[in-house]
Symmetry: C2
Subunit: 136 residues, 2 copies
DNA sequence: GTAACTGCAAAATATTTGCATCCTT
DNA sequence: AAGGATGCAAATATTTTGCAGTTAC
């Protein structure tokens, strides 16, 4: 599915920056940070546009954020199951300590966790770090 | 163990700000962000000192960072098993969507994840969000 | 034509660094 | 006394907001 079709299916106006940013995600094997997009897009559009585009994509469920232990926020494409406001990224994320690439391990589903009495789970994220297959 | 003893055991100089910040962590039932510490300490010491103290504590393995999906970085006390540069927080973290308190669920250990061929795990974090026992 | 999107400027926040001074050991 | 820690100022970096101009539909 082309970027423009994706945008259309989410009822978003099809604009140059949105297509470009979406293309970057499709071209990337890993997750992207705001700074990555800024570099990759080579200042084709404003930094603010990137912020706003990412925010819109997250709200619509096109991309999701990945928690990281440092201050950076990473974004990656959501799969089909994601709906507006309701993400189901039930896969594990892997961050390579060496090359910093972040993978969505689609095949690795998040295991069940048994929470203590009184805690209600809405979402669960699993982030594994180590060395990826390209850096061994 | 008192804060000053902890500092001593990690070979850190015992200073007012370090004791105070360590006390805050012991008094808190959840994890703390830089901003929390700034508020709780009521400007008793400089914002920069907080940055530097947190960084030192992380390096020494006194506290660890908790990944979050927004840009905030959370810190929580490490348990005994943590050594310098080598953290073993093999427990699940829970962030309440309502009150934003972050719990270290010490009793809930991180389940095994089966990684694809070529990926080597060094660390794993599990962050569950939802509603905590005080907000139900 | 209208609503939505973008770019620019600027404000608000957050983080890092350098250096002189003070405190711990 | 010496090394390390702190406070202050300032440099950087990051994120948000407002508004006027432009573009998509």
């Amino acid at each position: 599915m082309h970027s423009s079709e994706i945008l259309k299916s989410y009822k978003l106006s099809i604009t140059e920056s949105r297509i470009q940013i979406l293309n970057l995600f499709h071209a990337s094997k890993g997750a992207l940070a705001h700074a990555d997009i800024e570099k990759l897009s080579a200042a084709m559009f404003d930094r603010v546009t990137i912020y706003r585009t990412l925010q819109t994509f997250v709200e619509k469920g096109i991309i999701h954020t990945i928690p990281t232990a440092d201050n950076s926020v990473l974004y990656a494409l959501c799969k089909d199951e994601c709906k507006e406001g309701h993400h189901h990224d039930n896969h594990v994320h892997f961050i390579c300590d060496n090359c910093s690439t972040t993978y969505c391990l689609e095949k690795v589903t998040i295991p069940q966790v048994q929470l203590p009495e009184g805690f209600v789970k809405k979402q669960a994220d699993v982030i594994v770090s180590g060395v990826c297959k390209n850096c061994i």
